[in-house]
Structure formats: structure tokens, C-alpha cells
Subunit: 335 residues, 2 copies
């Protein structure tokens, strides 16, 4: 990606790449899609498994941490598979190894990356995304819109459903939605940070796609960037073990979405409000998604939830004077 390009030119390039992914998918039949990456990059692609699994029975979809995919691949993985990878740095060893295995097996490959000229760029099609705090791009150029465009392109190719246009239209609205969420939460963000900045542990829970947004909050923000102990549990599992540790001083983030799995989240929240004084809920019903086609809202809500959770992470980081970019091991020692 030429860094001298304007955002508008980059957006045109991303849309052109999504078009080439459609051509790649249409070139011959496929029966399975594997979304393969590590950590937050893996969780960001979980919508691929979740949405395809619910919207089509014609193909299978799964989500793997990259090295498990390489060391113990599924028997169904073949030249009839599509392998979708995601490596922010373009060089994540496990994800690059998965790409090479996929190419050896004759599978078609699509990769998301910030750095298309690095190893991950050897995929059949590469979709560029940005995540540059010093020069923030339009949200349409970040990872979730890239993932969603590919996921709904796959669905459209398989089912002829025409999801991509309304999904793209919804994704183009994210800048405005995020700005409004930040503005209306300004006071709440400060109050949240003031209440919680000294907590040594913070749990997260959600259901459906939200569960993986909680995982991203736990793994990328709390553990990796803040060194705060954390665990994320699926809200459907919460009452089968995890809830017994809760007392009035146990901090818990709860997400509430717009899809069919919301009752699990409401049940967890209701219990937590009775048992802990430190419960913080983010509810997608508070987001203004009115400019989107109704059928896409439940799928876009988790993306907005992810960004709003991140705002609370940023508020914590500021109050704790612990920048989100500090690492003690990553890039500092070999492992």
C-alpha cells in the first residue's frame, strides 16, 4: 500500500480487493472456510464462523488459533477450502505458517494485514487495513469492516443473498456512530476510570458474537495492554461455574447485543447487579443504528460494542498512566 495515497484512494483499493476476493471465490466450488489467526486477530475474524454457520448450510466455517490449525488441521481442510488469515504485522510466525500450509494443500487464501509487502502478502488476495493512532484512518479502513466485507461476500457467493451492499453502507457509518458514542459517554468514561482504575482484576461476559468482543477486551486491552488480570466467559456458561467466584467486589463488564442470544446476557447482568457493586454494562440498544437496514443491525452491533469497550479501556489507561502501547515481553525478549 502506497503511503502517499489518500484515504479515499485506499478505500477504493480495499473495495477493489474485495471484488477480487469474489472472483477468487467464484473461480471454482468450495465447501469450507477456515478463519485462522492468533489472539485479537483471530477473535476479530470470529464473525466469519458465527455468521456463516447461521446463514448457510452449504459450506462449513470454523475459526482456529493458527498454530493448532498447522499442527493438527481438520480432516475436511483441502483444496476445496478457503483459508482467511489475519496478521497485523504481516509476519506473525504461526499465521504465516498457516498460510504456507494452505498454499501447499491447494486451498485458496485471503489475508488481512497492515503490511501487504511482508510474508502474509503471499496470500492469493490481500486486503489492507490501517490501525495508526497517530493518523487515524476512517473506520472503514480498519480491520472489522475488512473482515465483514469478506464474510458477506462469501455468503453472497454461496447463497446469492445480496448482503454486501447494506453491510457496506452500514460499515461506512461507523465514524459518525463512534463519534456520537464517545461524545455522549465523555463524563461516564471519566467516572468509570475513577471508580475502577485500581482494580487488580476485571471479568468480561457476553454471548453470541459479543463473547468474542469480550475476549478481545480481556486479552488485548486488560491483559496485554494494562496488565490487569482478566477472564472472559460466555454468558451461557456463566451460571455453570464462573458465577460462584462473584462477590460484591468483583468487577464485571457485561455486553448486551441485538441478536437472539441477548437473553443470556440479560440473565447474567441481572444476576450480577444483585451480587456485585462493580458491574458495568454496555448495551447495543443505546447505539443509534437507525441509518442501517434493520437486518444488518444485529451483525454490526458487536463491532460498535468492540469500539465502545475499547473507549473504557482507553479511559482506564489514561487514569492509570499506563499507555496502551506499553509491553513488557512483546518485542523485548525472544520466546
Amino acid at each position: 500500500m502506497n503511503t502517499a495515497m489518500t484515504f479515499e484512494e485506499k478505500i477504493r483499493d480495499v473495495k477493489a480487493a474485495v471484488g477480487r476476493v469474489r472472483t477468487l471465490l467464484e473461480s471454482r466450488p468450495f465447501d469450507s472456510v477456515y478463519f485462522v489467526a492468533c489472539g485479537g486477530s483471530r477473535a476479530t475474524m470470529y464473525p466469519g464462523k458465527y455468521i456463516l454457520e447461521r446463514e448457510t448450510s452449504k459450506i462449513t466455517a470454523d475459526n482456529f488459533t493458527a498454530r493448532e490449525f498447522v499442527l493438527a488441521p481438520p480432516a475436511r481442510f483441502s483444496e476445496r477450502s478457503i483459508v482467511v488469515l489475519n496478521s497485523y504485522s504481516g509476519t506473525t510466525a504461526e499465521t504465516v505458517a498457516a498460510l504456507r500450509l494452505a498454499k501447499d494443500r491447494g486451498a485458496r487464501t485471503v489475508a488481512f494485514t497492515m503490511w501487504p509487502d511482508r510474508a502474509i502478502g503471499e496470500a492469493d488476495e490481500v486486503i489492507f487495513y490501517e490501525d495508526e493512532p497517530s493518523n487515524p484512518p476512517p473506520n472503514f479502513l480498519t480491520i472489522f469492516p475488512a473482515v465483514y466485507q469478506v464474510v458477506f461476500t462469501i455468503l453472497d457467493v454461496v447463497e446469492g443473498t445480496g448482503w454486501l451492499p447494506p453491510v457496506t453502507q452500514a460499515l461506512e457509518q461507523l465514524d459518525g456512530i463512534y463519534a456520537r458514542e464517545r461524545a455522549k459517554r465523555e463524563q461516564e468514561l471519566r467516572a468509570f476510570a475513577e471508580q475502577y482504575w485500581q482494580e487488580p482484576i476485571f471479568y468480561t461476559t457476553g454471548a453470541g458474537l459479543d463473547y468474542q468482543m469480550c475476549y478481545i477486551m480481556t486479552v488485548c486491552i486488560l491483559l496485554e495492554a494494562q496488565w490487569i488480570h482478566s477472564a472472559s466467559f460466555h454468558a451461557g456458561e456463566f451460571f455453570h461455574g464462573p458465577f460462584e467466584v462473584v462477590d460484591e467486589n468483583t468487577p464485571y463488564f457485561v455486553t448486551l447485543g441485538l441478536d437472539e442470544t441477548r437473553p443470556m446476557e440479560e440473565r447474567a447482568l441481572e444476576f450480577l447487579l444483585r451480587t456485585s457493586r462493580k458491574v458495568f454494562a454496555v448495551d447495543a440498544r443505546d447505539f443509534d443504528l437507525s441509518g442501517m437496514e434493520p437486518r444488518v443491525r444485529k451483525w454490526i452491533a458487536p463491532v460498535v460494542l468492540n469500539r465502545v469497550l475499547q473507549m473504557y479501556g482507553e479511559a482506564l489507561a489514561l487514569r492509570r498512566a499506563h499507555p496502551l502501547s506499553i509491553r513488557r515481553y512483546m518485542g523485548k525478549m525472544s520466546y
Copy 2:
């Protein structure tokens, strides 16, 4: 299950039930198997997804927390599906709802339970298991052997592989293996409890099937039965976020298995031994599985790991004077 029956009679009954499951599977073709339950009961059936997914491409297999399966079922779920359920109490509301949905859709159903005369007993075939601390049954009568017999029966029906006899022979050896593991660890269990009984948090990590054994340790033992904060991470995800929270005082359980995913576990262990003074590893290479056919050992090792992890949980419970049976919410309030 008649409580006046001897263990030998019960074992005969379980084997007869497994035979009826084979007949049920052979009655007409199926294309998918869903393992559906909650918490530890769900994780105990994870070998169903993991093993079938790696040993056959002829059917698909997945593992769901029960209420998500009911509220947002996969599109592939149909009358051509087998739904395998697990409810210790026989009345778990989410799992019973999944059974009813499966029957409504015309899927064939198999259920594991302690209480076959309760709601879950309406499944097409029911396999009884025991978990009675006051009168411990042979391990062959507990849940993992029941799950494994069904999983390998499915595989044998689909692929004609003949796994069930060597797997059954291996499962019948568990009593001896557990007794030897307990005896040789007697001092270590006490030393472990003495070192760790005051820790407020304990992480677990493993890969492949072991990851779900770590989940069971985290959810059923540490959180539910000991009220110790805990999170379990896949060893392949460990270096992509979770490891940044580790300092020299962070307690971590690491499992090491015998299958292809072991290198991920070894890498996590090596890092942890360099960064924390509180790392405790359980290595399946220390188990004597020599009486089993070589090809089944990697699949049986996680079952033994589960039992050995539980021994450390029991040792902690004893030292903390916090019996594993104490609950603060389950059965004490409605939620």
C-alpha cells in the same frame, strides 16, 4: 438405573447402551453431530468435536453451550443431525431445552446423565454415568469413558475404523492409572497445596484437547468450587496477549499432552519458567499408558490429565478447608 445393581451390572448396561447408540446411528445417514451442554458438562464433550473433526471429513462436529444452540442454532442443524447432550442432574434447563429443540427438528438424540428418569432421559438413547464421592464407582462408569465410547462409536460407524475396542480397553485401565498417579504424587500434592493455598488467582493453559481440561480446572474447580479467580487460555493464544500480565508471582498451571499440539504447550511452559516462580506443569509423559495401543494414547492422555488436575484441586481444597462441594449461589438462590 437400579441403585441395587452391582458395578459389574451397571458396566454391562452402559456397554449395552453404547451398542444401542450404534444401532441408532446406523438407522439412517447423518451429516453432522452437535455436542451440546453447559460448563464442565459441555467441556467434557469437547473431545467429540476435536477428535471427529480430525479423524473424518465425512461428517461435521461442533460443540455448543446449550442455550446458544437453542437461541441461535446453526443452519446445518436438521433431521440429518445427531445431538449429544450431557446433564449431570438430568434437569439442566438449557440442556433440556436443547433436547426438545432437537426432537422437534427430527434429529436423533443421545444423552449422558446421572439421572435417566429425569427430563433429559427423553433422549432417544440415554447413557448413565456415576459421580458419587461417597461410593466411588469404577472410572469406567464415569462421564469421560461414556463420552469417549460414543465419540469412537460415531467414528467407527462413519469410517469403519474399529477404534472402539482399543479405546474401551484403554478406558478400563483408568482405575489403576489414577491410583498410581495419586500414590506417586502424594508428597507433591501436599507440597503444592502448602505453596499455593493462599493464592487469590490461578491461570491455566494448554493446547488441543488439554485446553478444555484447563477450562474444566478453571471453571469447575477454581472458580466454582474454590472461589479462586481464574482464567484458562489456549497455549496458542498465550503469546498474543495473556502472557503480558505474567510476573514472577503469577500462578500458572500448564498441561502437556502427547498429541501434535504439544509444542504449543512446551513453548508456553518454557516462557513461564523464565518469568514466574509459580509455574506448575502436569506432563502426560509421566503417565504410564504402556498398557494401551499406541494410537489411542494421545486421546486418553487428556482424560488422565483432567483427573490429575482434579487431584491438585482436591489438595488445595483440603489445605484451604474449603470443601469442593460448597456453593454460595447454586441451589441457594434463584437466578
